[in-house]
Subunit: 312 residues, 2 copies
């Protein structure tokens, strides 16, 4: 039994943000090691054209690999209906379509208005509903730039709530809130979560995706835990970095998050030594110029530290 | 009016941890700039023998400089009675004597047992009581290694509470809790604060000194705020680093803490642009091989971000 679910997004959000392409065989070894360390869910890739993101061109193969690992929840990102078709064909357990609450960002990022994105959502819903009940993936709408946008700046919470409602209405099973730009503050996490819950129900928002661009990642996690969110996205070694902040990890670092949660007595299901083995595989599989982040791996767990999760 | 007081410890805790010696004139410029940015309290140095810490040999001169700045609270560290004498002569507003809750660490660090340290505290109390009432500095006992020790490992909370009681009994006006080793977790912050409060009263513990060794600094700050602590130590640019964790800042980073607090609507009294000017002075005054930390200075404040503190 775990208390908080860490959804590992490194193979997708991490690898898409760095230039070197990790070999498929290495990715498989890494994903196997991450799952062996106890990560319950891994976002293995994104179904985008290989021309746009050659780093993730092997996503279908990685979904198949992930499905071969007993008990692992295999998640993928899809930008549109076409991507969802591929995800369904590959057999992903969870499909997330990001919708940027900032329409300016949406147009720039996927060249689609909100209305166009919601139309994709409706088509994906129909696609999923045509599958036999036991083969239907969970379908999540990701509320990108929910905490603010580098282009639009402040995003009113009412807008986030409105898009959340529309995503559910258009056919998503659930939504996630995403601090794409690292603008988020603890107060925003609390307030936005409560606002979305009031609109669509508590069961339809359980997860949050935070960035550490301004060093606030784990502080925002505390707010997320306090309000009652139970799934936290994180990336091993915080890989990917952030173009705005040299030295700043993009995603929050899985290893530091594990120490935070376990130190609070919250079971993550993670075997810490095995997590370090997965990190070793990542290090070996990337050119040395790709920087790995995370404080806990360097410093080690505190002397006499007890993980809440029983260690084998 | 400020909601949360940031006590800037960079000139002491930061500079003592790096090898290069910052010129006294540069330190003065930096301290002036920090105060101009709105930092209400600055720990300007430590009265230790210059042989041991040549980086801080100019502490008396910096106390005099700090006192010349209207409204600034000038704090210093002292390891013993001799140091306190020098601090009193120099005219510090606040004197902190650290007492390591881990006696093993205390013996290694200052070669004194707890009993010997408490004897120093009693002598310092007598020294202060001999001063005219309006010249008496605030006398704080710092509970070092309260969250665990690299030598002794786990430190029972009852021990921290016991030492806090003894420090107050021996003559300290107040105590502060200190995560010297970066072992601390949010639950510890909450539980230890409540435990110490129950023993010595809420007015005698208002501040916390956190390290970011395992990346948990700002998460622990959230716990400190939630429980009701009102003074947070931090170091500009997190200077000092940590011997255990390359790339890890030692103290929590003032700049990132300011964004956290102001983003939560808590006034720190800081003028952000002036804080960046102080950082610039620090950068110019240290050799380029000394790494400056902090995510927010690199990323910048979020677009449309409003500080809770009115900006000039």
């Amino acid at each position: 039994m775990i208390d908080i679910e860490i959804s590992e997004v490194g193979p997708r959000d991490g690898l898409q943000s760095i230039k070197p392409i990790m070999a498929t065989a290495d990715k498989k070894r890494w994903i196997t090691a991450l799952a062996a360390a106890g990560l319950p869910e891994i976002e293995v890739g994104s179904f985008v054209p290989a021309k746009i993101l050659p780093q993730l061109a092997d996503t279908a193969e990685l979904v198949a690999h992930g499905r071969s690992i007993e008990g692992l929840n295999v998640a993928v990102l899809v930008p549109n209906f076409k991507g969802a078709e591929n995800a369904v064909t590959a057999g992903a357990h969870k499909i997330t379509i990001p919708l940027s609450v900032s329409e300016t960002h949406s147009l720039k990022n996927v060249r689609r208005t909100h209305a166009q994105m919601l139309e994709e959502v409706r088509k994906i819903r129909a696609l999923i509903d045509n599958l036999p009940a036991n083969e239907r993936p969970v379908f999540e709408g990701g509320l990108s730039t929910a905490f603010g946008c580098t282009l639009e700046g402040h995003i009113p919470e009412s807008k986030v709530i409105g898009i959340a409602e529309q995503l559910i209405k258009a056919g998503c099973d659930e939504v996630g809130i995403s601090d794409t730009t690292g603008f988020g503050t603890p107060n925003q996490v609390t307030s936005m979560t409560k606002g979305v819950w009031a609109a669509i129900g508590k069961d339809k928002l359980t997860g949050i995706h935070l960035h550490n661009t301004r060093g606030q990642g784990l502080a925002n996690v505390i707010a997320a835990l306090d309000v009652g969110l139970t799934t936290i996205d994180a990336s091993m070694a915080g890989i990917g970095g952030c173009p705005f902040a040299p030295g700043a990890s993009g995603n929050i670092v899985t290893e530091d998050l594990v120490f935070l949660l376990e130190g609070m007595g919250l079971k993550t299901g993670i075997q810490y030594e095995k997590l370090m083995q997965a990190r070793k595989i990542l290090r070996e599989s990337l050119p040395s110029e790709v920087e790995l982040y995370g404080f806990t791996p360097d410093a080690g767990l505190p002397k006499d530290f007890s993980m809440a999760t029983p260690q084998a």
